[in-house]
């Protein structure tokens, strides 16, 4: 019953039992606090160091082009040392948007299936399988995307999209299987486990009383899911999506292999594109000029900014939603 004693009494008991501690308990607490503070500050320090390094390495390009004109320019020519980031920003945002549009409904449905429909060992096992997807290295995703997904997109998905949604400019033009759409789908598969497992935790946190109350009031299962599960966990779901989006924005290798790597802005989702992460991965190792290297580092800063802005906007949405729910 020791756990139930007040702390000081427990300590006395412990003390009287024999050897005195090396440090007094008070200083132990203090030490732990300093240690934790130190670790926390260290992370901030590393982040600051990275940002400083990036700014330092990109200073040449920053001086040459300036941040705003660098962001606004849609032209990338390493031979002539002409660099602009707009097409990469576009590619990053479009592929991430496709990813979240495809992955969010799938993941939420999966999480519902695992918490509401399936129970027990089978649900645990399936949940584990979904989480295993997260453990697949992205280069494997990339190769799989290149050799299996891309031909499928070209031969099956594209004709289907063209006949059903072909009136939209998004789904016009030739498809080679490699392009923005394929990259978006790969990203969707990659972020599904993140969103699924987080959403599942959110659903699990809902008290069963709420569900039973909904059913007791005569709601069908579908209505119960709507009222008692989805509605109260909306901000949690949004939070999970933000984390998934974060991964999609920064994903490099898999995207570089299937996106087609052309720094152009095209209306069609079938067209090749390029993302900020993919251009850095592609050109950094063999970058020749100082300016080229520096421009790639500046892209990294822009990626930083874009990720920050997207996260900020998403958090604003969650925050406003929370406020509305509270009212």
């Amino acid at each position: 019953m020791k756990e139930n004693l007040p702390i000081d009494k427990a300590q006395k008991n412990f003390d009287s039992s024999g050897s005195s501690p090396l440090l007094s308990y008070k200083s132990q607490d203090k030490l732990a606090l300093y240690l934790l503070k130190g670790i926390g500050l260290f992370i901030i320090f590393i982040l600051a160091l990275m940002i400083y390094l990036l700014f330092d390495m990109s200073s040449l390009a920053l001086k040459e082009y300036g941040l705003t004109s660098f962001i606004k320019t849609d032209w990338w020519n390493p031979v002539e040392d002409e660099f602009g980031a707009l097409s990469f920003i576009y590619g990053t945002l479009v592929t991430s948007a496709i990813a979240i549009v495809v992955a969010a409904p799938l993941s939420i449905a999966m999480a519902l299936f695992l918490t509401v429909v399936l129970r027990g060992a089978l649900a645990k096992f399936l949940g584990l399988l979904v989480e295993l997807i997260a453990a697949i290295p992205s280069i494997v995703f990339g190769l799989w995307g290149l050799f299996y997904l891309a031909p499928w997109v070209k031969n099956s998905l594209t004709p289907f999209l063209k006949t059903t949604l072909g009136f939209l400019p998004l789904f016009q033009g030739p498809s080679f299987g490699i392009g923005l759409l394929t990259a978006g789908i790969i990203l969707a598969i990659m972020i599904t486990p993140t969103i699924t497992s987080l959403t599942r935790e959110v659903f699990k946190a809902i008290s069963p009383l709420q569900k039973e109350a909904a059913l007791g009031l005569g709601a069908t299962k579908f209505e119960m899911i709507k009222i008692a599960i989805l509605k109260p966990s909306l901000s949690g779901i949004l939070g999970a999506c933000v984390l998934g989006l974060g991964r999609a924005l920064g994903e490099t290798m898999a995207v570089a292999m299937v996106i087609g790597n052309s720094p152009v802005i095209s209306k069609s989702l079938f067209a090749p594109g390029a993302t900020m992460a993919s251009i850095i991965a592609n050109e950094y190792a063999e970058a020749e000029g100082e300016l080229h290297l520096s421009a790639l580092c500046l892209i990294a800063i822009v990626l930083f900014l874009v990720t920050f802005i997207v996260n900020f906007v998403a958090r604003m949405v969650i925050w406003r939603n929370n406020r509305r729910v509270k009212k």
Binding site: V79, G179, G260, S278, N282, A285, E286
Partner: protein, 327 residues
Amino acid sequence: MKNVVLTILMLCGLSAHAITKINGAGASFPYPIYSKWFSEYSKLNKDVQFDYQAIGSGGGIRQLIKQTVDFGASDAPMKDKDIKKAAWPVKHIPTVLGAVAIAYNLKGITRSIKLDGETLSAIFLGQITKWNDEKIQTLNKGLKLPAKDILVVRRADGSGTTAIFSDYLSTVSKNWEDKVGRGKSLRWPTGIGAKGNSGVTGAVKQNDGAIGYIELAYAIKNKLSVVSLKNKAGEYKLPTVQGVSLAAQNVDASKGLTTSIVDASGKGVYPIAAFTYILLPVHQGENLKFVKEFLNWALTKGQNYAPALHYAPLPNKFAKEVLKQIK
């Protein structure tokens, strides 16, 4: 017990003392032949061990300047700007020759397609977009070419292969030199970018109507159809190890070892070929002697290992000249 530990420690100390470790870093293109050389050489000279990191030519040059390696390796000669940054004079030692093959995928065409430099550059500039274009058709009399769209596939990552290919196109076509130019990363006017030789190989294999450039070894291993290319003597040549070696036979080694050998004159020459170099810092360090000894072996007996790995050996006369310069 103590004695055993002591003996082990002493043995470790002895063996660590006896083996000289040589570090190198650079181009990934010659990695297969270099690693073969290093392992064969270590069998003959048990006291020298080579460690080579295939991090790319640009990385190799940077490591060399920072003096973290005993030798560098690069597909393209170092730029004067970079040579000035190095603490010592840098010697370029050609080791083997590499070739770039033009691979294509055209269903129903069994005979090898013939192209000349001008037509090839027009295809990669996006000016010729159909396989049955008049210019291609006149070069291939008696071959019924389909009216399919041409899909240009090229490297997305910065690469020595791209440097060789664009050097060739710039040499044979004024149009290409003005519009695109030479480099490891380019501003491509058309097509899709794939990652690495394997990426280009995959994209060509999957798309009927695709054309792309890859290292010779990849074309042979994957049994892709390759273009027979018109050389300066007016012959159409398929890429072969012999044809590539011939490209270097007329190079005068006494006039410097970094000459470009694309579109070389002479009979039987395959026109898209280049040396790959080991970069040797000429300083007083101890390890330099071992690297020189290794190069002596690599340029004589070592050359016999090249053809099996689809690299072209240096012509005998040329290799002798290079050996003279190493001393």
